[in-house]
């Protein structure tokens, strides 16, 4: 029963635009059509082979209502079934994979887009909060991260300086990633040391970037003819926590744990030890550690141990979300990064990883979590 999805849906190809703090000379549609064109390129499939398009974005970020309606042409969705998910693109992927696994469609395009440079990102995050109790007092994404961090660090026996190994790994990996607009580790002293949301510094918070990502998925039959190296979606899970930040656990993400367990179960009872490579999303360093612990890749309060080796390439080899957070597309970019590596695509470092865990987060203060497991034939 729980294995119906196993090896029914494959990632055929994927692409994203450069992730950069501001695409000031490009519209959403320009970014979206570039990502879609590149995802189709080199495959034997064209736009007419696509059965459906599912996309993720935020009307608040985009500054227009039902913004996907204006982006249909750029998504190649003319006269196709199109549906929008107001959550990170990883939820769109889950929706699309379910459609294919159900037999209702053969080939789908999953798209996510974001131009946070066009709006006030702090106001966007605050707009997610209920307006009676939490919003009026000035709670925002920064202070939410700070409140988690203070309690997590105390419980884990860590100091704010310890978090530098997490952000340094992220930025160093991003500097090696041609898809992210980072040429070198930031050298700005204030970035690493000045208080931003105590105990966190600016370097502990993710950097919003503009960009679009497109993922081409299909059923096994199409995959067999379209690619010699399909990436199978083996497990999926999502779970959401309470909305009131103060009511949530102070130093863990139980919803993320539930999401991971359901993905592991669907993948045939695998566990964290079976995961060769992980690409996870977080809006802060402490958030990243809490995700890694929730999915079981580290013991509770010991996520930091994963960064003892600065050259490790099992966790966020792309750099993760800290240097490049295209809000609403961040998790789907993680899936692209994991699939590129499992597929041995040109332009990424070679790896013998065969399995991957991909994580996306959504909502205020990482309220919502989605976990996908991937596998490639050896």
């Amino acid at each position: 029963m729980t294995e119906t999805l196993l090896r029914h849906t494959a990632v055929l190809n994927s692409a994203h635009t450069l992730l950069t703090p501001s695409w000031s000379d490009r519209q959403h549609i320009d970014l979206i059509s570039e990502a879609v064109t590149r995802a189709l390129k080199g495959t034997s499939l064209g736009i007419n082979d696509i059965d459906f398009v599912i996309d993720s974005g935020s009307d608040f970020l985009d500054g227009r209502s039902i913004s996907n309606c204006g982006f249909l042409g750029a998504m190649g969705a003319h006269h196709k079934e199109e549906s929008r998910v107001e959550e990170d693109g990883l939820w769109s992927l889950m929706y699309g994979a379910n459609k294919i696994a159900s037999g209702a469609a053969s080939v789908g395009l999953i798209i996510a887009y974001s131009k946070p440079s066009e709006s006030d990102v702090d106001a966007f995050w605050t707009s997610l909060l209920e307006p009676f109790i939490q919003r009026p007092v000035g709670l925002d994404q920064r202070s939410a991260a700070g409140l988690y961090a203070q309690r997590y660090l105390a419980a884990a026996g860590l100091g704010a300086d310890d978090l530098r190994s997490v952000s340094e790994h992220a930025w160093a990996a991003a500097a090696r990633n041609a898809g992210v607009d980072v040429s070198e580790l930031p050298t700005d002293d204030a970035f690493w040391n000045d208080d931003f949301a105590t105990p966190l510094r600016r370097s502990d918070l993710s950097r919003p970037v503009d960009g679009a990502v497109a993922i081409l998925i299909s059923n096994a039959e199409v995959a067999a003819s379209a690619t010699s190296r399909p990436i199978w979606i083996t497990g999926m899970g999502s779970a959401i926590d309470q909305h009131f930040l103060a009511a949530r656990e102070p130093d863990t993400f139980p919803a993320c744990e539930v999401a991971a367990k359901s993905a592991y179960r669907m993948a045939g009872g695998i566990g964290p030890a079976d995961i060769d490579l992980a690409e996870v999303s977080a809006t802060s360093t402490v958030g990243e550690l809490m995700v890694l612990e929730a999915v079981g890749l580290a013991e509770k309060h010991h996520g930091i141990d994963l960064y003892r080796d600065p050259d490790q390439s099992r966790i966020n080899p792309s750099g993760g979300a800290l240097p490049a957070d295209p809000i609403m597309a961040t998790g789907l970019v993680r899936l692209h990064e994991a699939a590129s590596r499992l597929g041995g695509r040109p332009g990424v470092e070679a790896t013998d990883a065969r399995t991957a865990l991909v994580h996306g987060a959504g909502g205020f203060g990482m309220q919502n979590h989605c976990v996908i497991t991937l596998e490639v034939n050896s």
Binding site: D25, I29, D120, G138, A246, P250
Partner: protein, 313 residues
Amino acid sequence: MKGETMTTTDAPTASDEMESLAAQLRMPYTLTPGWATGIFLAELGRHRLIGSRHGDTISVPAQDFSGTSGEPTEGLVEVAPVGALQGFTTTADGTLGLVLIDGTDIPMIHRLLDFDSETLQIGARVEAVWSDKPVGSMLDLAGFALASSSESFSPRAVPGDLLPPVLQVDYSMTLDYQHAYGPYYGTLFNAVKYDRRLRGVTCTKCARVLLPPRAMCDVCFAPTSQWVDIDAVGTVQASSIVHIEFIGQRMKPPYVYSEIVLDGTSTRLIHMIGDVDAEDAKTAATPGARVRAVWSDRRTGSLTDIDYFKLIP
């Protein structure tokens, strides 16, 4: 700087390039807090904190439903406006604390006021600071400051004179945007502003001329190429005479709203037909009627630089 009587086109300079559009969304709301939160908000004005009971758990602010089980609350309680600090963070906008009110189980987040950041510690006793002018909002409780006394009490039955819930909280959200035009709209609006012409692009597959221009044809998902200059003259495809008033109108009703196919294009442009009596428009601004743009004196680089289209007799 451009002269007021300028009629010719200045060559665009770098600073004139059409790069982005400033836009603002302003949305007024009348929010309904509901029963429990409404009473909590109402009672803040009387310097009382009202919580709600959910099994063994007491939460404040009062909630209609349990955040974990979804069960309705078993009733309200009054709690002391004092508690202990469980955590805090400081940003450029101030300091927020997690305050666990005495006798409750779920902390609340609020502003910390009048404290020394050097000595602030988890576990510190804090007390409510009330606003002088209550308005029925969360900020009637201005925040928490270090407690000046050890007075407190256990959660107790709500007072007999409990206020009815605040029924409505007025709220307005204002969001500002700076939308990039990108190369295609940028080229179009530059041409509108400086040359008083429109520019479209041709689809490489279906050969339709698209206005506004774009990188990909919406129908074919094929790239476009080849810019086409378009005269602001065309044929009405459909019209509607607008009689109602609404926010954002540029003309006073009644006026004529039309879909116009400009000569040489394959797309429809939505604009207005002016200089015609609304009654006459019923027969004159019908499908097939020919129209020509009347350019404004303004040069904003948008389609509002066309005041309206005028019927060609």
